[in-house]
Amino acid sequence: MLSIRNLVVAPSRKVAPVLNGVSLDVNRGEKVAILAPSGSGKTTLFRAITGFVPVTSGSITVDGIPVQGLRGRKLREWRCHIAMVSQRHDLVDRLKVYQNVMAGALGRWSTFHALRFLLWPLQEELEEAEHALARVGIPKKLHARTSDLSGGEHQRVAIARALVQHPLVLLADEPVASLDPDLSGQILALLCSLAQENGFALLCSLHQPELAYKYFDRIIRIEDGKISPSGQRRNSEKVEVSA
């Protein structure tokens, strides 16, 4: 599924590369957590996967298709396969919840279709949004104002948007950074069960090792721009609690 080989990302020749030879495979339905301190390059890794940051060398492929050199329509088709959920603040406050959810379909809609939906949503589109919201546990919020959502609901809507996208890969960049421990657990459990049911590859960055060990199949670390050797399956490693 998602396959990264010797990835190097260097913004310029003068500074050291942010990512320096990262290799990683994530399979269908597999849940992988990245434990990494801020500034270690995990966000750069995500941005490279979604094609926002150019790859200096190495390769990123999804189902054998490389991201390098994609532009315009091809790049949009690529992005369509990769869904993003991040910290917070990535929903558009002034839109209704169903509009934010169905934004996940923008990749397969024409411009005209997208504009028509903003002004005149069809019944089946609303039903699709409601179905996605039901899967994340908040079907009642279909017509709510996005700015009225709580922190947990906010993340659920972002996940619903990702579901509408029917992704092959879901990237979650610190999805629980602004939530309390209880909610964090719920959101991660939801992400992991959806990955299993829908069969997408889940790559999720976290700060808290205990959450990573509890929910994910595999844990990797990024150090000095590389995947550090400690990345192993959870049942073969002791649970460590770092300060």
Partner: protein, 465 residues
Amino acid sequence: MISGLESMFSQLRNFFPPDLSPVYLKAALVPLFETLEIAAAATFLALIIGLLVSLYIGARLPGARLLYALLASVRALPDLTLAIFCVIILGLGTAAGVAALTIFYSAAMGKIFADLFASADPGPVEALRSTGAGRVVVTFFGLLPLRLNDLLTYGAYEFESVIRAATIIGAVGAGGLGTELIGSVNMADYRRVTTLVIMLVIVVAVVDRVAWLVRRYPKLLLVFANCGVAAVWVNRPEMLALRHSIERFRSMLPPKAPEHLGVVPGLVGETLLMAFGGTLLAIFLAMPLGLAAARNLSPAVISFPVRRFLEFLRAIPEVVWGLLLMGVAGLGPRIGIMALGLHSAGALGKLFAESLENVPPEPVMAMTSTGGTKIAVASFAHLPLAFAPMMVHSLFRLEWNMRAATVVGMISAGGIGQALFDAQQLFHYQEMAWFLIPTWAMIMVTDLINTRIRKYWKVSEVTVR
């Protein structure tokens, strides 16, 4: 229809080529410098008066609230209307222009500065209070240093506004480019009008750059202060005429209602029509222009020329747009609507573009990563995110256009402004003074509604730039 277009084009031809003969250019330098003098003197005086008044309000000395209300209501009178009064009282010439702009901008700056003091960080101020210091001491040792940078920034912004106003304040005989411009229009010397408009566009462009520099390095304002002192001295009013001035002022009091009171609602209606129509036209034009000018949405090949076009639109003041349009499209409120619409489209287009550029990046990233087309992403992310600031800018424009609508009235576009100007031309000074009342009321009501709507939208403050 065809013949109408034909006459429009033959009218347009009268404006070209501009009169660029060395003799005229040399002659036009005089009003140009007058304009700069008016601006420098008025900014200097208004800064000092505004600062003193706002400090008084900031210190919460007795009568502070009343003073604040007074500032708000003086600010509600259009600067050109004030200029008419100053011309009558002080006589034709630059002194009247300086006086009018000083009054208007003292109130404007005083109010902004007072607002800045009111929203200052209470911590340090309370700490000073608890030392037992008096209110005046707290103001000078607490409020002033806390807010000095913001004061200079806003001062620089107002300086820009004063120069824009100074180019046109002369339209009612208060000196500078405005007086020269109206003179040329009245003499049907359209080629010279073109020359003056070009000069105006250049002055405004230069001021744009200078103001940008001053905002960046607010201390430059202190350098300009010297020019201000000199300009004030050069343009001091004739003191010998003081008695004459007082007499003139007395001749305006008490305000007397016009004989045919029935026409007043119609006049108010015309002014409102111009203000609302002009603002709507401006929003209608500024939407596509703003999208095209936003550097994060349009490629540079499009955004660069569109930005220059917007600069051109807003460099020409409403009154001048009105004068230019009059030559090709006749008289009446539609001239006012078009004039306000074109100038405001330039201002709103720029502000819309900035609002679109300043949207938070995270939701935009999220929308882009769904793989939507550019237009789809813009309408799902940029437009809804920029909606609130765009609304606020439009509301402020409406308030501005309430003033501008009375001002363009003076060039025969109708409404209250024209009635006021006609009364002045007929020396009916008491009636003229009466027309101030509906003008003032309209703008105060707009201001009030504006504040309400902003509260409803939960956008309390918006930076003017």
